[in-house]
């Protein structure tokens, strides 16, 4: 346990410890497992329930924030993303907390103004110790403001190279990207290989790691992969054997399908090669999973309609974090039966558009384009995001440009000025940095809407997701911090039985109970009488 990395260490001390370690470390990527396997529905109290075991395991870090979680917290769970971090911090005081940030898109789907990026990172950096940062086009300048703010905040920076397969995806390309990053950040970082869709064979990963380590011998490498094809254990094993120091893993009792592969399987495999996971308490690791298995029934409704691994991801290359929600959208859109066709189309579109990395926000562009192509004809209904991509708004495409006919279809779609695509590209193309936001004006606007003082954290959430954050703040004003409820109550279906008693503790640890005394209907009014702590209340809901 002496090798354990804890939160009281500085980034330099952590990096020194990693460099001298003979074994490897594990990051529990709770966030990505939730996103990939349960549509980001993991509630904070599940984190709290498993936290004592996770804290005892001795992970390098636990990723509890970032990606789609920030948005889904506001949208579907009514959880303040900062509360989520505070809760996790309190529950796991020693463990480093990790996030994943989409570069200039932060935790959203479009590039934000630089002052918004910097303010957001400053606010989240109060709680997040490790920052995994990527750009879906591997365009390093898109990540620089985030890099700078993370380093200013004294937090550990983990710049990522998005990895995929194809003839353009050479070792030389990725080594060049690593060098580009190090030139900006300096050597005191961890470079992450972001194998977002779980692509490539173990052999391919082994070659890539060797190439990077050969070009940059002092660099510390982290591997983040998805297990969509069921072979991430193989890739991680190869990566660790060739020099990766940290791998993202899941609990075997929770997910481990489209998200990360299970920690225990990796540990057992690497043991055979004489490689030890540093400072890990195996009993606690197993207990974590035992507890999470009990929680699974709460989250089952959010699993993908198609269960099990999908090795065909090697063709459509969709990020693990989007697989489940893609199937859900197809199900809700009534075209689930056309998914095989859509997945084939995704593979085709990806190649046509430049074979870059189908990870957020690029994955949404590929998905939407493929679906629209199938439903309405090829490139007949291009999205605004696809148009922006072709205009270079997200940055230059890394390998090659789409064919002219695609430019024509996309850029001339719904144009009323008669301009041709090459003229549009000439006049309007390029990476245009969004103008800085008027932070004071935005603060005043939000303050006026909520009629209360606004914190910097509130402002950040509003700047990231104006409509959803506002709705969330109004929800909290009316219903309070409902994440205090057990998750099984939050996701309850079918109402409550008379006499059912719900128990929970508030943030101060004070226990509360709400007992269902009676339910009755009067026309459109649904009257529920509750015993709230010791007091009866009848609440009228119009249905």
């Amino acid at each position: 346990m002496t090798e354990r990395i804890t939160r009281d260490m500085t980034p330099s001390e952590i990096l020194a410890k990693l460099r001298e370690a003979s074994g490897y470390y594990l990051c529990n990527n709770e966030r990505d497992v939730s996103q990939s396997d349960f549509k980001s529905r993991l509630m904070p109290l599940t984190t709290v329930r498993v936290a004592p075991y996770r804290e005892a395991v001795g992970f390098f870090s636990v990723e509890v924030s970032g990606g789609a979680t920030v948005h889904v917290d506001l949208l579907r769970k009514q959880v303040n993303p900062f509360d989520r971090l505070r809760i996790a911090r309190k529950a796991m005081p020693k463990t480093l907390l990790q996030t994943v940030c989409r570069g200039a898109s932060l935790f959203g789907y479009r590039h934000y103004p630089e002052n918004v990026i910097r303010l957001t990172v400053r606010q989240f950096a109060k709680y997040v110790d490790v920052w995994r940062v990527y750009d879906f086009l591997n365009h390093i300048p898109n990540m620089i403001p985030v890099f700078e703010e993370v380093q200013k905040a004294g937090k550990l920076l983990m710049p990522s190279i998005c990895f995929a397969t194809g003839e353009e995806h050479t070792d030389a390309y990725y080594v060049r990207k690593v060098k580009e990053i190090l030139a900006v950040t300096g050597p005191e970082v961890i470079i992450s290989i972001k194998n977002y869709a779980g692509l490539g064979t173990p052999k391919r990963l082994s070659r890539l790691v060797k190439a990077i380590r050969s070009a940059c011998p002092d660099v510390i490498l982290h591997y983040h992969g998805c297990n969509t094809d069921g072979n991430d254990i193989g890739r991680m094993t190869a990566a660790v054997l060739t020099g990766v120091k940290i791998c993202d893993v899941a609990d075997h009792g929770y997910g481990a399908v489209y998200g990360q592969a299970p920690a225990l399987t990796l540990i057992q495999t690497l043991e055979d090669y004489g490689r030890q996971a540093v400072g890990l308490d195996m009993d606690a690791l197993i207990q974590s999973s035992n507890l999470l298995r009990q929680e699974l029934k709460i989250y089952e409704p959010f699993e993908s309609p198609f269960r099990g691994h999908d090795p065909t991801v090697a063709q459509y290359k969709l990020t693990g974090g989007a697989v489940g929600s893609a199937f859900e959208q197809a199900d809700q859109g009534g075209f689930l039966e056309r998914m095989p066709e859509i997945l084939q189309e995704m593979a085709k579109v990806l190649v046509e558009l430049g074979n870059w990395w189908s990870v957020t926000p690029g994955s949404q562009i590929i998905w939407t384009t493929a679906v629209n192509n199938i439903l309405y004809g090829r490139y007949e209904r291009p999205s605004l995001d696809l148009k922006n991509l072709l205009l270079g708004r997200y940055g230059p495409l890394p390998f090659y440009e789409p064919e002219n006919w695609i430019f024509e279809k996309v850029l001339e779609y719904q144009r009323t000025d008669g301009k041709k695509w090459h003229r549009i590209l000439y006049d309007e193309g390029g990476l245009i940095k969004p103008a800085d936001a008027h932070l004071n004006q935005e603060r005043q606007r939000l303050q006026a809407q909520l009629d209360r003082p606004i914190s910097d954290e509130d402002l950040v959430l509003y700047l990231l997701f104006p409509f959803d954050a506002l709705a969330f703040f109004k929800f909290v004003a009316r219903y309070g911090k409902t994440w205090l409820l057990p998750p099984e109550i939050w996701f309850r279906r079918g109402g409550f039985k008379t006499g059912e008693r719900l128990s929970f503790a508030d943030e101060r640890g004070v226990p509360h109970s709400i007992e269902i005394i009676s339910t009755r209907r009067e026309g459109a009014s649904h009257l529920t009488t509750l015993l709230v702590d010791q007091y009866y209340q009848t609440i009228n809901v119009k249905v």
Binding site: R478, Y479, L485, T528, V541
Partner: protein
């Protein structure tokens, strides 16, 4: 005809709400039976449940509580021999004690002619002048014509602005208007006269010099049929909103010599007026301790509790005994004021919405308690606060040995309440408790106007109550609509 003191063993309380309950408590301690009255629209009121018997006066709302004949009839039906009027309603209507006397009932209060004389501000003022009391310079009744305007203008020329226009029959803060210049004066005379007619059925008004930033101080007196008149010290009622008291303190915190002088003055007036039973003499006290007679309230006051707390005496018990012809049960030199008491009126009102009444069902009611806390209320969980009646839910009176302790106790006691279903004045009082001027006992009648920041608060709702709202939503929809 004046009702004579006589023994009685059953009384009728001609009032409702907390004061009816307050009177019943003392009466029942003395072994008296109590009859309550109510209007049909008030049939769920708590005072009815506390009484030994109850009589419905009529359909209501409010008009039956003012029906003298019906109340006398109720007393006669139930065999009550005496009537306590409480405050408000008929308590200061001289026709009521007169009717009681005619019916052979004891009126627990002053005789009708005393109420009549002291109830008229002009007569009371004249009486004060004749008794040598310092009075605020004022005009006599102003004629309702050009001459009245001329008199007003010459008064203004002599004493300067601002001036107060007052209704002769006014009370409870109604019928008072401050004017700052000639234009305002001339317009105000017309408006005040119209308002006075509307409110009191009497359009007589007069003009008074305005004492700037005074403290509103009152002296509690008791007088019996044996010629005893005592005072029970002072109260400071300066914290008022539009001339209606919000918070009262005992003692008033005057310099000892001013305190003594003001109390002696009040006793002198009571003697001169032939006063009987409990009453209050009100004064304005200027910044240098100069004081002016204001008016007499010929009834038990809402704020009598603070006097009871610091003196340890039961004013209603004394009222009942005096009405039975007994002497006051203590002498002046036995009256000792110890420590401080503060009373706040917890009303079903929204301070942020101009203290507008907040009718509704009291879904949850948890009262405060603990050392130094007294509650006088008449609500319960499930009680519906009606727009027809007074919005007073409960009076909270706290006691402390020092001012600092009393203020801290008030803050703590306010936090102890949990009232759900109606908006209340509690958060506003919590603001006052935390105000530096209040903590230093630095306030006068301008306090509310000069401290608008007291309204800058956010109402705090318990997290569990908000969450209960979601549980009801999940129950109603069969799923969580926000998940």
């Amino acid at each position: 005809m004046v009702s004579s003191p006589q023994k009685f063993n059953k009384i009728l309380v001609a009032n409702r709400g907390e004061i009816a309950v307050r009177i019943m408590r003392s009466a029942q301690e003395l072994g008296l039976k109590v009859v309550s009255v109510y209007e049909e629209t008030d049939k769920d009121a708590y005072h009815i449940m506390r009484a030994d018997e109850a009589v419905c006066l009529g359909p209501g709302p409010c008009r039956d509580y003012l029906n003298i004949a019906r109340i006398i009839e109720a007393a006669q039906e139930t065999g009550a021999q005496a009537i306590h009027p409480g405050y408000g309603f008929l308590s200061e209507n001289p026709d009521f004690p007169e009717a009681c006397a005619n019916a052979g009932l004891v009126f627990i209060g002053p005789p009708p002619e005393v109420i009549r004389n002291l109830g008229s501000k002009v007569v009371a003022r004249q009486m004060a002048l004749e008794t040598g009391l310092p009075v605020i310079p004022a005009t006599p009744r102003l004629p309702a014509d050009m001459e009245g305007e001329q008199q007003a203008l010459s008064f203004a020329a002599r004493y300067g602005y601002p001036l107060m226009i007052k209704a002769v029959s006014g009370g409870g803060g109604r019928g008072i208007r401050q004017v700052f210049d000639e234009k305002g004066l001339l317009a105000g005379l017309k408006q005040s006269r119209a308002e006075a007619m509307l409110s009191f059925g009497n359009d007589e008004i007069y003009l008074e010099k305005c004492i700037s930033c005074p403290r509103h101080v009152e002296v509690q007196i008791l007088a019996d049929t044996h010629g005893n008149v005592v005072h029970l010290g002072t109260r400071n009622c300066s914290i008022q909103r539009r001339h209606q008291k919000l918070l009262e303190i005992a003692p008033a915190g005057l310099e000892p010599e001013v305190n003594s002088a003001i109390c002696q003055t009040a006793v002198r007036l009571a003697r001169e007026a032939g006063y009987l039973n409990a009453g209050t003499v009100e004064f304005l006290v200027g910044p240098e301790g100069e004081f002016y007679f204001l008016e007499v309230n010929t009834r038990i006051q809402v704020e009598h509790t603070v006097t009871e707390v610091v003196t340890g005496l039961d004013l209603v018990r004394e009222q009942l005994c005096i009405a039975q012809g007994k002497p006051i049960s203590f002498s002046q030199n036995q009256v000792v004021e110890r420590g401080y008491a503060i009373q706040v009126r917890i009303n079903a009102e929204d301070p942020k919405n101009n203290f507008l009444g907040s009718p509704g069902v009291v879904q949850v009611y948890r009262s405060s308690g603990g050392p130094g806390v007294r509650l006088d209320g008449a609500i319960y969980q499930g009680y519906e606060v009606s727009r027809h009646y007074d919005s007073l839910l409960v009076k909270l009176t706290v006691y402390g040995f020092t001012w600092e302790e009393t203020v801290q106790r008030l803050g703590r006691a306010l936090k102890g309440f949990l009232i759900i279903g109606v908006k209340t004045t509690i958060p506003y009082f919590q603001q006052i408790v935390n105000d530096p001027d209040f903590k230093q006992m630095n306030f006068d009648t301008s306090y509310i106007d000069t401290h608008p920041q007291l309204l800058d608060y956010r109402e705090e709702e318990r997290e569990v109550d908000k969450i209960a709202r979601l549980i009801a939503e999940i129950n109603a929809h069969g799923r969580n609509p926000y998940a």
